[in-house]
């Protein structure tokens, strides 16, 4: 099983790995710019996490993805148990219970849950040979995804929970959605949405949605982040204010500068040119991943590549739209760029899975 012969190593997509590392280093640069005046050396920590995540990626490469898929059931049970434990035992961090302490390291099981979900989907649809999705499969996947989803919502970590929509939705799309099913899903999500608004969503989350519609309505509250972020991006202009010279970030007007809003710092300090470059890099990276779908040797591989890529694409799009005020602020990190070990690790592992599938396209079944 763990046999990395020369042929397999030759098949590793080094371009993709280079793009990931490049993107991560850009992230370190702007994490430094936006937090160098704070104690904590976030850029150094991020570098360490990049190292750890890269090692994890290599480990993922070493094992045939089929093994992970086969293991997904156990992983699923484990992660659901972890999420449940998190809810009960975890230390409170920033008002949420999403962190679990592993000695010196802190982990967010919800980030790992995304990976598990990718594998579960691949497992569920590996032998699926119909052109369109059946009701039984739909309900089955909704149930399987629903349990960790609700546990994550309960933390409450709406942002991570939202990424499940990408994974599950991606799986549905691949399996084939009839028009009738699309309408049903839309209706169901509407009902769930309205119900969720009134029952599940906390006030701070509702505020985030309302502040999207009218950010100036509560400039010191939820709207504040969006306003400051938009000011940062807009004031960057074409070429930006220069590295470490963004007034919005350096003077701390920008919230969550090194985490969720790191792209605002890029927008402010490097302007539209920087924004264009980073988005182009992303596009290259994600396009390369999307197009790897044709390299997958089996259905499970297609699902892994597609859902993992869709997950990153979803986070990327939601993040860059949220920080400029086009979507509500739902704590979704920008993959590779935002500060945060768990998020980084999850992104690297997701890429690792894609690379894994891609490099084993000629492997004998």
């Amino acid at each position: 099983m763990i046999m990395l012969d020369r042929r397999l190593i030759e098949e590793i997509d080094w371009v993709l790995i280079a793009l990931i590392l490049l993107q991560s280093l850009v992230g370190v640069l702007f994490i430094y710019s936006s937090s160098h005046f704070l104690p904590g050396a976030y850029h150094v920590r991020q570098l360490v996490w990049i190292g750890i995540s890269f090692l994890a990626l290599l480990v993922v490469l070493a094992v045939d993805y089929k093994f992970f898929v086969a293991l997904s059931g156990y992983l699923y049970v484990l992660i659901v148990a972890l999420l449940a434990a998190t809810l009960v035992f975890a230390r409170f961090v920033a008002g949420t219970k999403s962190w679990i302490s592993l000695g010196l390291m802190q982990m967010q099981p919800s980030e790992m849950a995304k990976i598990v979900m990718i594998l579960v989907c691949a497992r569920l649809f590996a032998e699926y040979k119909r052109d369109f999705l059946t009701t039984a499969h739909t309900l089955g996947l909704l149930f399987v995804a629903g349990v960790p989803f609700l546990l994550i919502v309960a933390q409450p970590d709406l942002g991570t929970a939202m990424t499940f929509v990408a994974i599950v939705g991606g799986s549905f799309i691949l399996a084939g959605l009839r028009r009738k099913a699309v309408i049903l899903l839309v209706l169901a999500s509407l009902v769930l949405g309205i119900g969720g608004w009134n029952v599940v969503l906390k006030d701070y989350q509702k505020k985030r949605v309302t502040s999207l519609i009218n950010p100036a309505g509560d400039p010191r509250g939820s709207g504040y982040q969006v306003i400051q972020s938009k000011i940062a991006i807009g004031s960057g202009g074409l070429t930006g204010k220069g590295f470490k010279k963004g007034t919005q970030s350096q003077l701390r007007f920008l919230p969550a500068r090194h985490t969720d809003f790191v792209f605002s710092v890029i927008g402010e300090e490097t302007g539209f040119l920087g924004v264009f470059t980073v988005i182009a890099l992303y596009f290259a990276l994600l396009a390369r991943m999307f197009l790897s779908v044709s390299k997958a040797r089996d259905r499970a591989g297609v699902y892994i590549i597609f859902t993992a890529t869709l997950l990153l694409a979803f986070q990327f799009l939601v993040n860059i739209l949220m920080i400029i005020g086009l979507l509500p602020v739902v704590g979704i990190t920008l993959p590779f760029l935002s500060y945060g070990g768990s998020s980084l690790l999850a992104s690297y592992v997701a890429c690792g899975l894609v690379l894994n599938v891609k490099m084993r396209r000629f492997a004998n079944v």
């Binding site: 691949l174 701390r252 927008g267 999307f290 779908v293 597609f306």
Partner: protein, 599 residues
């Protein structure tokens, strides 16, 4: 199942994956377009917002100009103090914030909230002063909690201090914060938050002179309002000084003389109109307005029946009593009802219009000419004169001599008083004038009302033999009001000489004003005792168990030739003018005689 396939055909799923990729590509492009819109098309707007975010202009308070006495001794000075302001924008948790501020500054929460509410019209980023006049010790606990309380701003600011406490309080006036209504009513007088502005006295009248030009510092701040850097600074310019005509020593002596009494002393130079002393008792400490009263102190102050805040010199209305005999004399001579030699016989009482009228001296003064009548303040002489002259002639002379209108002194809130006439009575009371009322007016009673300042000015006019002056408190700033009125051609200089002769005898020849005599200073004066008293005052005195006495007047000048000073004294409920007011005036004449010697 017909859809089942034997072999793995991934074409469909790959096609679907590609479709999703293209949707993603389009969305990514749209996102990029939106960034183009915000960063390129709306760049200017967001750049301005970022600039406004990071800079804050802070007003640097300009010290007020000093107020000096005529010898340039500082009466109103400036000292350094700290003030604490609240920036509402930076308040995270209102309840916790107010609780902490209340604890650290020792202000109770409702008061704090009231102060903030007073300025609720200000922008949330503008600081609201919640405490000022603090020492470095007071602000130390706040400075040490700067991180926990970013909403608090501690600044050092010049603060008014009246070095001599209550001295000349009614002249200097006091400073107070503008009320919300005043802020709205006087948009042309922009104030920085918490600025104290002149509310009374010189501080008010010369507010525009005294207040300087505030400076401005453009500071770079972080999101917590902490100053990171300063971009530009415009230094504040101190206001101009105001030099008073007041003589500190004379003022102090006047205030000492009135201590424990309710009354007024006005001293002025009859040639120039410069006010040398102006004391109103009881008084107050203007410093207390700066350090702020406790609510109880303030209530006590404004509800004090003796009204210490009122400047009685210009706002107290009194019957002039026998002082008015000066006006009667001028009128009698001018309109030809008497000449200096005309005599009236005083038997102590006389019957006029069917009523018995008494002189204050019951045995009677005997035959009196004008000079005797002034010297002895004989009522009978002036009853007779008043009856013959009639109210309208009296009113005409009184008006021309400055009664019934403001003196034009540079203080606010001056009252006009009242000179009754038949026209006035018809208009005001819808009643005809009764001749009997004229008799009361002739000795300064009845509806006549004057302020001590008017009497001082009237005396100055007599002393200057009819050359009028406008009273002035400030020597270095041109008067905002029109200069001295032209001399009234109605009165002849010789008229005043005759009256001055009587006034001289009143003080120096065993008359009623003998108490004001100063050797070698030729004091001329007239006493007065008024029976008029308001009902409230009478009740208040009765409650206090005091004997109800008359108000005590003296007004005079010295020396007789080339007069240098006019002194008017009014002591409320002081008894006879000769007994109480004249000796007080004498103290001031004596002091001024010394002060005039070359130093």
């Amino acid at each position: 199942m017909p859809e089942d396939r034997i072999y793995e055909d991934l074409t469909i799923v790959r096609r679907r994956a590609n479709a999703v990729f293209w949707i993603f590509a389009v969305l990514a492009f749209l996102a990029l377009s939106y960034y183009w819109k915000v960063q390129i098309l709306e760049h200017r707007k967001y750049l301005d917002l970022a600039e406004a975010n990071r800079t804050r202009s802070r007003v640097l308070a300009a010290p007020r100009g000093l107020i000096l006495d005529r010898d340039k001794t500082i009466l109103a000075d400036n000292t350094a103090a700290f003030k604490v302001s609240l920036v509402r924008e930076s308040v995270k948790d209102e309840a916790a914030s107010y609780a902490a501020i209340s604890r650290l500054l020792g202000i109770d929460e409702p008061t704090l909230r009231d102060r903030v509410a007073l300025h609720k019209d200000l922008q949330p980023f503008e600081p609201i002063v919640i405490a000022d006049g603090l020492t470095s010790k007071d602000v130390a606990p706040i400075e040490s909690r700067r991180r926990e309380l970013p909403e608090l701003l501690v600044e050092s600011e010049p603060q008014r201090i009246y070095r001599s406490g209550t001295l000349a309080a009614h002249i200097l006036g006091y400073l107070q914060e503008q009320t919300a209504e005043e802020l709205r009513a006087r948009p042309e007088r922009p104030t920085r938050p918490g600025e104290l502005v002149g509310k009374s006295g010189i501080e008010r009248v010369y507010d525009d002179v005294l207040r300087g030009d505030d400076g401005l510092a453009i500071e770079v701040v972080d999101s917590l309002g902490r100053v990171q850097n300063e971009n530009a600074r415009q230094f504040p310019v101190q206001g101009d000084d105001v030099i008073l005509t007041i003589d500190r020593e004379l003022q102090a002596e006047a205030e000492r003389a009135l201590e424990g009494r309710e009354g007024v002393i006005v001293a002025l130079d009859p040639k120039t109109g410069e006010v040398l002393a102006l004391a109103s008792s009881p008084t107050y400490d203007p410093n207390r307005f700066i350090t702020r009263f406790t609510p109880k102190e303030w209530t006590d102050l404004i509800s004090d029946p003796a009204s210490p805040l009122e400047n009685r010199a210009i706002r107290g209305l009194y019957a002039p009593g026998s002082i008015f005999k000066l006006v009667m004399s001028v009128a009698g001579l001018t309109f030809g009802y008497v000449n200096p030699a005309t005599t009236v016989y005083c038997s102590g009482a006389t019957q006029i219009y069917g009523a018995i009228r008494h002189c204050w001296y019951e045995p009677g003064h005997g035959a009196m000419d004008l000079s005797d009548a002034i010297k002895n303040s004989c009522n009978i002489y002036f009853y007779s004169l008043g009856r013959r002259m009639g109210i309208n002639q009296i009113a005409l002379a009184a008006s021309r001599l400055g009664l019934g209108r403001k003196t034009g002194i540079d203080l606010v809130g001056e009252k006009e008083g009242l000179v009754p006439s038949s026209e006035w009575k018809q208009a005001a009371l819808k009643e005809p004038w009764f001749p009997g009322e004229t008799i009361s007016v002739a000795i300064g009673q009845g509806q006549l009302q004057v302020t001590p300042a008017q009497i001082a000015l009237l005396t100055a006019l007599v002393a200057a033999r009819g050359v009028p002056v406008r009273p002035r408190l400030v020597s270095n700033v041109p008067a905002a009001v029109d200069p001295a009125p032209p001399a009234d051609s109605l009165f002849k200089e010789s008229t005043f000489e005759e009256i001055i002769a009587g006034m001289w005898r009143s003080v120096n020849d065993g008359g009623t004003g003998a108490g004001a005599r100063v050797d070698g200073f030729d004091v001329c004066g007239k006493t007065g005792s008024t029976q008029t008293m308001s009902r409230e005052s009478a009740e208040r005195l009765a409650r206090a168990g005091r004997v109800i006495k008359t108000h005590s007047w003296f007004s005079g000048f010295a020396p007789r030739v080339g007069p240098r000073i006019v002194v008017t004294v009014l002591v409320e409920f002081g008894g006879g003018g000769g007994a109480t007011a004249a000796p007080v005036a004498g103290r001031l004449f004596a002091l001024w005689k010394e002060r005039m010697k070359p130093r």
